[in-house]
């Protein structure tokens, strides 16, 4: 056995320097370590965020990996801990443990068309990969972002999507499940967009994140288009309590999603994907 380690379950205090209300139920916290210094991470990784007295939740990092001076998390209020985090204000402190998990293999995609498929709040864990791709834009063929949301009011990072769409070297397709007549964009599921988007299937890397059902159908469509499954990557969600492969909760077949994931190469988990209640 090795020498006695530090306490891996003890969070570090980070102060909130900015709060952005993104959507009715979604907000972004910008954090800085109380102790000073930087926070290095890779796109796709997550942290365990602790709200004093309420508990801890796994939240993916939604900021730019090139900017380690601040830590950015985009959070959807769905339970008591995320609601407690949502009640915090600039100057308040949260506990942070991490970063944990596997990254999006953005460098691996150099030379390929990069296809990013996001659904709902699943755009948040992909945003660091988008920043990374934009910073290395000349190293890719096409850069295509396909994003599905519930309604036009639920489009996350709308201003940024509009900014990216205005670039000549990025294709952004946004589609919503339902809309009223005021919406000038697409209606329909994101798989419809995948079916038609112009990319070279044999030289494409796809990064997919969203609800599990959406990912199943999106990957299906990407596969139908002819993209090899070892170039398709998905980010899985399971109940993560420790981030260390220790509490057992996030197991998915032989994998600890917190440690062996959340980003998986699809060819390596293709057999697990359709198994129900695994």
């Amino acid at each position: 056995m090795t020498a006695l380690p530090a306490e891996p379950m003890l969070p570090s205090p980070f102060r909130i320097v900015k709060v952005v209300r993104e959507l009715a139920d979604t907000f972004t916290l910008v954090l800085q370590p109380e102790a000073g210094g930087a926070f290095a991470f890779r796109s796709g990784q997550f942290n365990m965020l602790y709200a004093f007295g309420a508990g801890e939740v796994p939240i993916s990092i939604s900021g730019d990996p090139a900017d380690d001076g601040q830590l950015v998390h985009t959070i959807r209020s769905v339970g008591p801990v995320t609601q407690a985090l949502g009640a915090l204000k600039v100057g308040d402190v949260v506990g942070v443990r991490g970063p944990f998990g596997t990254p999006w293999p953005v460098e691996e995609a150099f030379g390929d068309d990069l296809v990013i498929i996001a659904g709902g709040v699943g755009l948040a864990p992909l945003r660091p990969a988008i920043y990374q791709a934009l910073a290395n834009r000349q190293k890719f063929g096409k850069l295509i972002i396909m994003y599905g949301a519930r309604t036009p009011q639920d489009i996350l990072f709308r201003k940024e999507l509009e900014k990216w769409r205005s670039r000549f070297d990025v294709n952004v397709h946004v589609t919503v499940d339902r809309a009223t007549g005021q919406w000038a964009g697409r209606v329909g599921v994101v798989t419809n967009v995948v079916a038609r988007a112009g990319f070279d299937p044999l030289h494409t890397t796809a990064l997919v994140c969203g609800p599990e059902v959406m990912m199943r159908y999106a990957v299906d469509m990407v596969e139908k288009r002819g993209v090899p499954t070892d170039k398709v990557h998905v980010s899985m969600e399971r109940n993560m309590k420790c981030g260390l492969g220790l509490c057992g909760h996030c197991q998915w077949g032989p994998h600890f999603v917190c440690r062996d994931g959340p980003v998986f190469r699809f060819s390596e988990i293709a057999e697990l994907f359709p198994v129900r209640e695994l």
Binding site: V78, G148, D177, T180, V187, V213
Partner: protein
Amino acid sequence: MVQIEDLGRIIDEHPFFQGIDGKLRGLLVGCAANERVDAGQYLFRQGGHADKFYLIRAGSISLEIHAPGRTIMVDTLTEGEVVGWSWLVEPYRWTFDARAQELTRLVSFDAKCLRGKMEADAELGYEVLRRFVPVMGHRLAATRLQLVDLYGPAE
């Protein structure tokens, strides 16, 4: 005749009829016409006679349901897609409103003309239906996914 040759090329290049046999394409061209619809204009309205169907060459069409006080968009169709199959099913009436979201260029096919040719030529009839059925299947699957309300709040 120049116009008809043009239509033949457009039909050939559109994904919907891609690879169709030359003889059958000739039959299609006889029922086809170029059309354009400006942003905000309706291609057809719910309940109207479904006397055509369309291939989108450029632009986008939204399928909508009008309710008092609001319009609900249910699908968007863009370049390379086909619009409308009510012309195949009696009593040949449109199920939705179809409105151009931008200037949209299409090829339209006269339903009466084409139905007549399909009745007379089973090969053409089969070829047209063979191409419509997967589109219908795909749209049904997509609609079911929309029903799931993937991004909605948990129960």
